[in-house]
Symmetry: C2
Subunit: 99 residues, 2 copies
């Protein structure tokens, strides 16, 4: 039922529109550069960093640096993240299509 599903969603690391946007952005990419995400999602680096740290703690994304001309921060969605995104999309689909 919709209410049970929405309570489930509130506990999900993707149960927040910003984190859902981050996961959807990463889904179609092997990896993304942190600064590209700041621009594409129109977030501040501080705000994006905050959400990514929370998502990393929950195993949804991993972040790492690659050294080129200068160190560049990359972000990837993990397999756990892909699975969680599928769960969240299924819940939302159930909620919004059941009226």
């Amino acid at each position: 039922m919709a209410l049970t599903a929405l309570r489930e969603l509130a506990k999900s690391p993707l149960g927040n529109p910003i984190r859902l946007a981050i996961a959807l952005y990463l889904l179609s990419r092997e990896r993304a550069m942190f600064m590209d995400m700041v621009r594409a999602l129109n977030l501040t680096p501080g705000n994006l960093g905050f959400h990514l740290r929370e998502m990393e703690k929950r195993g949804i994304v991993k972040t790492y640096y690659r050294i080129g001309k200068r160190p560049t921060k990359f972000v990837e969605l993990t397999d756990v993240g892909v699975q969680e995104l599928e769960n969240v999309m299924a819940i939302l689909r159930e909620v919004v299509n059941s009226d």
Copy 2:
């Protein structure tokens, strides 16, 4: 586009699964009793009260007491709340059905 829509959602007073659940619960009812909502949504009174205060500040719900055998707290979705719920559902529908 989904990301823009999701950033919009993050700003909405209903852009949080618990508040969306509260609004959906109220939508089908003229009014609800606070303690029935605590049970139905499986929230603590403190947690429900917190979300309702935030929603009331944004004009989404109104709460009031009626005196019977004892004072009973009631909650109603406002017209603004109904409109906001429709907006949020439209955004979510767009996001989850566009893959």
